[in-house]
Symmetry: C2
């Protein structure tokens, strides 16, 4: 598994050492903005991640405490959900989205960029609430199943 190497005590460098991994962030993005939860969901993103890379990054994100695995019913029997630590990345992701949208005005998410500019704090709060709620539900479900 690709491991995170801390190169210095600088918080920005620290952030980059994790965050600099392009694939990992795209998975987080998909969870935050696109409501994706399963292996297949992530696989189908436009950037075209390979299965071995996806497996690797999901493991890494789980090991580092950004996401948790949980059982689901249906064809895909595994889901992934952001933890509090994962949710804490929302502001960084949003700031990246704003910058990317500003540079890349023809991108298909121009609307999203504009919405963000209007009400960044609101969007962040709303996303965080939604994801936290989901996380809490899943956590309690898992604890209950464990007890039974």
């Amino acid at each position: 598994m690709k491991e995170i190497k801390k190169r210095s005590e600088c918080p920005i460098s620290f952030c980059l050492d994790f965050f600099g991994d392009k694939w990992a962030i795209l998975i987080i993005r998909d969870m935050i903005l696109n409501d994706k939860t399963t292996f297949g969901d992530f696989l189908r993103s436009d950037e075209g991640i390979a299965t071995n890379i996806l497996t690797d990054r999901l493991k890494m994100l789980e090991t580092e405490g950004f996401i948790v695995r949980y059982p689901v019913s249906g064809k895909a029997r595994i889901g992934y959900c952001l933890t509090e630590k994962g949710i804490s990345l929302i502001p960084v992701i949003i700031e990246m989205a704003l910058w990317g949208a500003a540079q890349n005005i023809n991108g298909y998410r121009k609307e999203f960029g504009i919405q963000l500019k209007k009400d960044k704090a609101g969007v962040i709060k709303q996303l965080a609430m939604k994801l936290t709620e989901k996380y809490i539900t899943i956590k309690s479900d898992m604890e209950n199943n464990f007890l039974n």
Copy 2:
């Protein structure tokens, strides 16, 4: 020179395709937060960038319009300065710093994180003003030298 590959139309992916380069961001960080301007300055950062990598990234950042080279007097005859495009990265850098500081509370920049939490908008504005002023001065200097 390492080239930037755009993998999709997503603004976050777009941001990552550039921003995901850990070395490039550390150079930008040094310019924004540590007032570094010369090759030697960047070389001396804690993360220990190699000379070939540094050269490569400086070229890339210049090509992509994030920085400009300018002549200076003294031992180091070349300086680097952020353009408007480079300055536009401040909010992303700051958000990363905040996240990094929150995760890595023992880092030597805890104080910086706390200051940021108290007055993020103010810090961003102040940094942007300072850097813009510098950029404008250097730009007009260079234009004058070119005319003479």
